[in-house]
Amino acid sequence: MTKINKNHVAKNHSTNQSAMNRLIIIYLTLQSILCLFASQAIAEDSKAEIRGFLKNYCINCHGYSEQNADRRFDDLSFDFSNTRNGELLQEILDQLNLGEMPPSDEVQPSSAETKKMVEMLTETLSRARNAARADSTGKVVLRRINRGEYLNTVRDLFSLNMTDFDPTVAFPADDLTEGFDNVGEGLLMSDFLLAQYLEAAEQVVEKAIRPGPQPTIQHIVSEGDLIHGGGHSDQRGFKRALVRDQFTRAYVKRKYAGVPHDGEYVLRIRANTVRWSDHRFDVEQLGYDPTEPPRIRVLVTSRTLGDVSTRIFGEYEIRDGEPVELEVRGFLQRGYEFAVEWANGPRGSQKRIMRKVFPQYLPEETVELARNPVEMYLGAAPELRLHRLEQEGPFYDQWPLPGFARFFGDVPKAPTQNDLQRCLVRFAEVAWRGPADEQSLKRYLDLAMSRYESTRDFWQAAKIAVRALLSSPRFLYLVEPEHANDNRILNDYEIATRLSYFLWSSTPDEELLGLAFKGELAQSRILIQQVDRMLDDPKARSFSENFTGQWLQLRRLGEMPPDPATNQAYYAEHLESAMRQESLLLFNHVLRENASVLDFIKADYTFINGSLARHYGIAGIVGNEFQRVSLNPSHRRGGLLGHGSILTLTSNGVETQPVERGIWVLENLLGTPPSPPPPDVQPIEPDTRGVNTIRELMAKHRTIATCNECHKKIDPIGLAMEKFDHLGRFRQRYTTGSAIDPSGVMPDGSEFDGMEGIREYLLSRPDQFTKCLTEKIMIYALGRRLAFVDRGDIDQIVTDAAKQGYGLRDLLKLIVLSEAFKTK
């Protein structure tokens, strides 16, 4: 399998539309704030009502005199620090839901009473749970850097080129907490992972610490038969390929373990085709398209590692007739090399052509006689001719390499222990993201010294100490010491670290560390400058990708891929990556232009390429390049809800899942996720025999009270999105022919009609959406769950963001300036 490396980075035609989006009015009323506060305590009258219900219907058998099944409710307390109380309430709720209690020969509550009690108990329990959870949060739990952050961190520490180099490849996946993989409490450490860290550190150090003179440039030339692979030998000084398959892949050398050093290499190719379109064979049968110019493909690969290591470097046009000279330049890791193959020649195996195609062009008896049909086919068919392959390198922009020079640049020819110490301290202060505590550093220096004493090898000693530092707790965790449980303000280095892992998913750079050193970083003016600088840096791509990957769950795209047999275009046109790209480009645009976050709901533009436009049925867009496209209502797109990505990732590859879609909107746009089924309430198995449409099926589901509690909110939203199929294509009818009814009513009485209805519903609550987004960004920025204590900050941020026109960049700055961001 080859890894396709073509990033069709779009050129965004940015027009400044954000001004118009700033006129949204905010409805953050006092009332909603009060609600938030009230939600934590359990109202006294609820308690009284629950007690009353128990007294009327339960206590006869579960009270002071009788305690059937060992249950007693007359002394029930609402103190949920004792988990038993919660469990008892839960049991009562279960029994009511199941309709098993009170037993049928006892006095029965009316159905209205039962319903009310079910709602009340559900609510009470959910509050109790929230309260208990909030109790243990509100502070960042020691954060381990996750897999992506580790990768970026070592890249930036040593300015490493990470193409084809991933020391984290065997790291176990990081767990999600509240939907994010950078939340401290959820980031586990295990001996498996630690073993991987040790191994990764060794690999990184081998790449980064490269003392000695610049490697000499090697020049390998192979011509004609000396080219390895590339098809058939020819005495006339070239190799010829008849088909595009992996067996005709050409290499510069026969036995070659790849380049000996990491670095830039140049590959020169001399090649042409003959009879590209001028032959007597049926091109359909040969399986290629002679109307396009012939191309060769350059691969980067490692023959030792095999197919998994192979990726496409690029494709280049050549011509029919006269050979052309091509030169490509790229970075090769040690052990890798270039390879060349025919990108668009006749398809499939030579055997197929010999057996199925070739005989049709010769009288039968000739074929019988032909000893070597390949030779007869050669000279008549299109072929690729490779005349020369030439590889030269490694080349470096500077030597010693910048990542090495950063820490070891001043090591003299005959280094001493003092040099060792100086370099390691320098490294530790960057790796540990701040001044290194002398006591702790000493252990690492001692390790280096003892290695130096036993081996007298400066570099061996340096390497083992750097490996230890890269496996140390102060590197792998973002340490924020705290002696008492005081809500202390972070110091400047800690703020630099938070900022940097927020916007770059990486370690702070020299500028951030410099500002921290000067004690200036915490000033609001400087912080805002830094946010702008950091967002303009290419490293901020990590923020866009990681945040949208998790907020919008774009990472889930591809988890349930559609059936290749019935969804060919999805694969042929690379729709999955195009869809992901569309959402990412919208996010980047809003971020760069400081456009209103409400554009995520209602943007009248989007970013698509030819394939995605065809998929959406939008005319007039061609080519692989993504471009900004203005939308009108007839396109039925606009905003995230019209994105193929969202519609596909909430489906299961075969059909839509309205429940998933409803939950997705509640969770990620409205910020009111339905509670998962409370522990020990077993979902009752719905009997869905005899239903015809998903709407009927879901209606049946809602006849069960426990289900209805949440599904009355979920289902209307999901069903309103039904006019978009499992790949996000618009449809008027189901494949069965039955019509789609996208209308719905929310529990509060709001009515929907289709996707446009959801958009209006969301837009009528700009504060609610902004709050939801703010909370998501806060979780990501802080690396922790939010707690009750954060409500104040969040509400203030939302209010201010609304005043400033809901700009995304402004929102990020408000978050960085918030109390929560600057406190432990």
Partner: protein
């Protein structure tokens, strides 16, 4: 169930389903025609494990107990109506899915109405099969998550190259004693390489150096993290404890690896895919390969504890009669069409397990005893009725290991409450020589039924 499935029914299903049935027949044929195929060929007649006398004595003592434990667990469980027998006792009728096990009836026990009290529904219940508790319910004390297989491994597995191996692509169900999910070896190829393919001398040399270096590094970071703990808040300290545990555990494992690095890996023949399956490749066809490597692993004493996680997902199974994705089918909502399709998949799973048991029976260990005699196979899932993703009444089946088998035990239900599955685990722990009265949510044991 009103009509009792017969052997004829079973035949009918598979003749309708020709592609699948061909495959099974082929397997049967291969198995019987070449009993030696799966048998490893040792380089010499000597034992793989360099055993000194003391170790031999120990293992003699241990042979009083079962030696090996295998857990096989499908993510989405098994369609209940075709799995749980109606009548209990010895002469129970096997429903259609369970019927795949008919030939092993005397060596197996089926349980009805066992589950983990306190574990709610949803996909997360799958992960509780071997520990009885959800990660979200342990309240910061992750050690509650340790799973049965790892506990058994600590008792019986420590003198093998691998104390325990987790394989397959399903949801993780195996947790270390610190409560960390054990990474799985995801493919049969990697599984085989890990156990049987020797590193070249250069790699070994590199490993030896790295082991030495890492030992010194671990010393330093252990000291440093102890010092760091003092500076942290109580909650952060708990978090750093994870790191400290990891450092100590890595040190321990390093010593183990050092011990094993020069002991050659056993030489066995790599099991091959059936030729006609090769083109399809991968899941679900790799299931039989997983099982073959598992047999080799046990036979060569490379490990004594195996956990095989069978994946869920929404893939379309390439079987005749299957028209919907796996996950879609599990939410059958009593729709007879979906319910019948899900059973095709279940039967495939169970037939693979039955084939695995065939191999355990046929293959002998180094003392010449049939593997099944000393291997406890636990088949089951943390998910009961997948249609509602319920964790109630989970499928559980126990095979081999010298336990008392042949019956279906159905437990009384107290309302929504079954008998804790952990009662069975208490009995299993004892069976492996671990004296205990309690495991997770257990309220007793099932000794009286199995011993």
């Amino acid at each position: 169930m009103s009509s009792k499935p017969s052997n004829d029914d079973f035949e009918k299903v598979f003749s309708m389903n020709r592609r699948l049935s061909n495959k099974i027949d082929r397997r049967q044929f291969l198995r019987s025609s070449s009993v030696g195929l799966a048998l490893p060929m040792f380089e010499s007649g000597t034992s793989v494990v360099a055993g000194d006398q003391e170790r031999e004595r120990e293992s003699e003592l241990e042979s009083l107990h079962a030696k090996r434990f295998v857990c096989v667990s499908p993510d989405y469980g098994v369609y209940p109506d075709a799995f749980f027998p109606e009548d209990s006792g010895r002469d129970y009728e096997m429903p259609k899915t369970l019927k795949m096990m008919e030939r092993h009836r005397e060596e197996l026990t089926v349980f009805s109405h066992l589950d983990h009290p306190g574990v709610g529904g949803g996909h997360a219940c799958t992960r509780t099969f071997l520990n009885g508790v959800k990660a979200s319910d342990v309240d910061g004390d992750r050690s509650q998550l340790r799973s049965l297989d790892q506990l058994i491994a600590r008792k019986v597995g420590t003198d093998c190259r691998f104390p325990a191996i987790v394989t397959g692509n399903g949801a993780p169900i195996s947790y270390t004693e610190a409560g960390i999910p054990v990474p799985s070896v995801p493919t049969p190829d990697r599984f085989f390489n890990l156990l049987f393919v020797a590193e070249d001398s250069k790699t070994k040399e590199r490993q030896r150096t790295a082991l030495g270096d890492n030992a010194s590094i671990l010393d330093v970071i252990l000291e440093d993290s102890r010092a760091l703990q003092v500076d942290l808040s109580a909650r952060d300290r708990v978090k750093l404890d994870e790191y400290l545990t990891a450092v100590r555990e890595t040190e321990r494992k390093l010593l183990r690896r050092k011990d094993w690095i020069d002991i050659p890996k056993p030489k066995v023949k790599q099991p091959k895919r059936d030729e006609d399956e090769d083109s399809q490749g991968g899941y679900p066809y790799d299931m039989s390969l997983f099982f073959e490597v598992m047999v080799l692993a046990l036979q060569t004493e490379s490990t004594r504890v195996l956990t095989y996680q069978m994946p869920g997902g929404n893939r379309m199974f390439p079987f005749e009669g299957i028209t919907m994705g796996y996950h879609t089918l599990t939410h059958h909502g009593k729709d007879p069409e979906k319910a019948s399709q899900i059973q095709i998949i279940d039967r495939y799973y169970l037939s693979q397990v039955a084939g695995f048991i065939d191999k355990l029976k046929k293959t002998t260990d180094q003392q010449g005893r049939s593997l099944i005699d000393d291997t406890v196979l636990l088949f089951g899932s943390g998910m009961g009725n997948a249609s509602s993703h319920s964790s109630r009444d989970v499928p559980v089946m126990l095979v081999g290991g010298g336990l008392k088998h042949g019956a279906h035990h159905s437990f009384p239900k107290d309302g929504n409450r079954g008998t804790p599955l952990c009662d069975l685990y208490v009995t299993l722990l004892r069976h492996f020589g671990i004296e205990t009265d309690q495991f997770a949510s257990s309220r007793g044991d099932l000794d009286h039924l199995l011993t």
